[in-house]
Symmetry: C2
Subunit: 448 residues, 2 copies
Amino acid sequence: MSERQFHLNAFLMGVGHHEAAWRHPNTDAANLLDVKHFQNLGRIAERGKLDSVFFADGLAVGPRVKHNTQAIFEPVTLLSAIAAATDKVGLIATASTSYGDPYTLARKFASLDHISGGRGGWNIVTSAGADEAANFGLGAVPAHSDRYERAEEFVDVTLDLWDSWEEGAILLDEETGVFADPDRVHRIDHDGPRFSVAGPLNSPRSPQGRPLLVQAGSSESGKDFAARYAEAVFTAQRTLEQGQDFYSDLKSRLIRYGRNPDDLKVLPGIVPFIADTEDEAKALEQSFTDLISPEYSLRQLSNMVGVDLTEHSLDAPLPPLPDLDHIQGNKSRYQLVKDLAETEKLTVRELIGKLGGGRGHRTFAGTAEQVADELTEWFDKGAADGFNIMPPYLPGGLEIFVDRVVPILQSRGLFRTEYTESTLRGHYGLAESVGKRSRATVAVEVSA
Amino acid sequence: MSERQFHLNAFLMGVGHHEAAWRHPNTDAANLLDVKHFQNLGRIAERGKLDSVFFADGLAVGPRVKHNTQAIFEPVTLLSAIAAATDKVGLIATASTSYGDPYTLARKFASLDHISGGRGGWNIVTSAGADEAANFGLGAVPAHSDRYERAEEFVDVTLDLWDSWEEGAILLDEETGVFADPDRVHRIDHDGPRFSVAGPLNSPRSPQGRPLLVQAGSSESGKDFAARYAEAVFTAQRTLEQGQDFYSDLKSRLIRYGRNPDDLKVLPGIVPFIADTEDEAKALEQSFTDLISPEYSLRQLSNMVGVDLTEHSLDAPLPPLPDLDHIQGNKSRYQLVKDLAETEKLTVRELIGKLGGGRGHRTFAGTAEQVADELTEWFDKGAADGFNIMPPYLPGGLEIFVDRVVPILQSRGLFRTEYTESTLRGHYGLAESVGKRSRATVAVEVSA
Ligand SMILES: Cc1cc2nc3c(=O)[nH]c(=O)nc-3n(C[C@H](O)[C@H](O)[C@H](O)COP(=O)(O)O)c2cc1C
Ligand SMILES: Cc1cc2nc3c(=O)[nH]c(=O)nc-3n(C[C@H](O)[C@H](O)[C@H](O)COP(=O)(O)O)c2cc1C
């Protein structure tokens, strides 16, 4: 078995990542409403020895209501039900730092970590949508830089709260009646520009101490934020070269924060259409593309590029787009879509087809062997430490990955054949990194 | 079977309600940290056909850290894991309206309701602790009246959000690609003194539409709030007469809000010590009392009465207490403790013994028959629609109630022998009441 090992996360979304998945004969749309479907997905991921499963999240309905499915479950409560149906697989939920408060969030993720015996992770997002702001008393989405500043303070407080109970603080001494050693349970007395929090957390230290920190922003501020805090990064990269650039850029930033490049795993997304032959895989992909609703896709594309395209001709190229500086939403996704349309000279219709599978993430249609080769190439050539697997349809698209691609990776010595660890940090080879990021170290990082 | 039926809720707390439960040989303190223990409690409650299980919650560690156990799990995530291990029993979690925001809360409880197939309920509290305020950026706990005003707006917004997806809004029409009917998914555009929320909720209508609303405040504002919103009320009443007064007071208030007395179930708490003989039951209770730590109890009692008693003699009566007007915390618990100490002329030590079992709730030691008789008397004489069962130790104290007391109530035709409904509202006989509380009705209530 080679030294360096793949890390695989299953990014789960309803009955699949493809926007038309729920209409496709390969899925059962009723599963959208059924928690048992999601528990089943957790078990399939565990059968494949995957590091983790992951749920995205948004704080508004958005333009989805008519033509795309709205998630039914909130990620942390859903993962708690999945925890009850699995033993080993990691459980990562998205939550925003732009709304809500650190005490509630720290507690919720500590609880997930307790419930799952150390399998919890937090995908930190800053919520780019104006519709999200309007559900939390704001007239407009806060500026990109404000969101990242708030995110830093939010995460600092959260980490302090998770650390507010030292390891071993619980004594459970029945003889003397001492539950916890008060000298090992600390107030945090945080008093910052946005938050003022006394602590300690109303949850004793969880099995991992700190649930895994995941991040998925790719703007300059996003990458700096990731370099400072994240232990795994999800990212949308369409070509090997772009993937390599992103990978080396991000890893080199870690050093500024006194971190080791291995302390953060880079996981590009891939939407795999897998079949016995390449032709069948391409036909499978096409059968999904054929179901795309242009009305819905145009609205989604409009959101991504910051221009209303709903009256724009499908067979023309994109109109001139605003400058990156004017995008207050997801800057990196804007850039990706703009580059894609320009380099491949796509009409809007073609662009929509390309984006339908994974909203900008790389789609790949081929045999299990071809998928394994593609992933191995990215892994070997310095573009990835593993992958964010985004099955276009569920559960089938996850099953075929687990049953056909994973065994190839295993036979190449690139992926575990059994779990060797019991925590999410353990799976990602990060069990030791928590100790390194003590409160004192964080303070030094800040002034570095 | 008689017409009117008992409703039984199991109020679960760690390894038991008695503050020294974790030190008693009847419990295993390690269960405090084990989600399987709580899933087992859910299954025991379901074996007894209980209406629901319930978890309290507080947003700070409080004075508990050394001598009393700190809850490990957050209630909603915990109930989600219990939902996965049960099929019928209702699942009620406490959450505060004084911190956090309605969008997040509405979504969390909708998710629990989806996950459990319509078994979710919300115990609405206003968080009386100063230590709680300090975790959310406030220097002091907001005034009692402010908390209740905020609670009203908070609940109004939450109800509107739950109603923002009409029944049947999800079409899942695979042919036309229409997921939901946009005409049946509504913005709420709430713009009030404390909250401004656009909606709709990012969760389609849950199985119950509105999770059950539970409340436990007993001050004047608390009772008015309950009369307006609550569908079940938990309350601490020590004597039959007090219970009758509270019951008729609360039920008569319902009429002001255009509600029927049956729309709200009053559930007084009881901490039952059950054994084969009365003497054995009393000895069992005494064995718990013997384990009480005076240091911890004094701090808790100090909190209840608003005076620092930690230097006060254990064998003297209470010192003069502040006026009720000066209590910004839990007014009704203050009154109960003051009355108890005065009428029974108790020393502080005696008072602590009386409070140890249930922090002011009625404790009762006797045979299963005696417990059933006592409950039946309260039920028949207009003091209760059912009970909030607070087992002093767990799981044993719940098992003995379910296995010995429930069959007696069943044989008297006072309690279901099988579940006849599948939702929490169904169990409480309130399945119809949601329809009555449409948005229009709420608006009328407000101006009444
Ligand atoms: C795989 C992946 C998953 C993401 N999941 C979410 C999500 O669930 N919720 C969200 O608001 N943003 C999500 N994002 C967006 C990013 O977290 C980030 O907010 C966005 O890229 C804007 O930040 P940036 O301007 O730094 O790129 C995701 C991005 C990627 C690549
Ligand atoms: C059975 C019962 C359970 C309660 N659970 C909680 C709780 O979990 N969290 C909380 O903050 N208050 C809890 N309370 C307190 C009340 O909800 C309420 O906040 C308190 O009585 C103060 O309100 P009041 O001044 O109107 O009585 C509970 C009360 C009772 C009787």
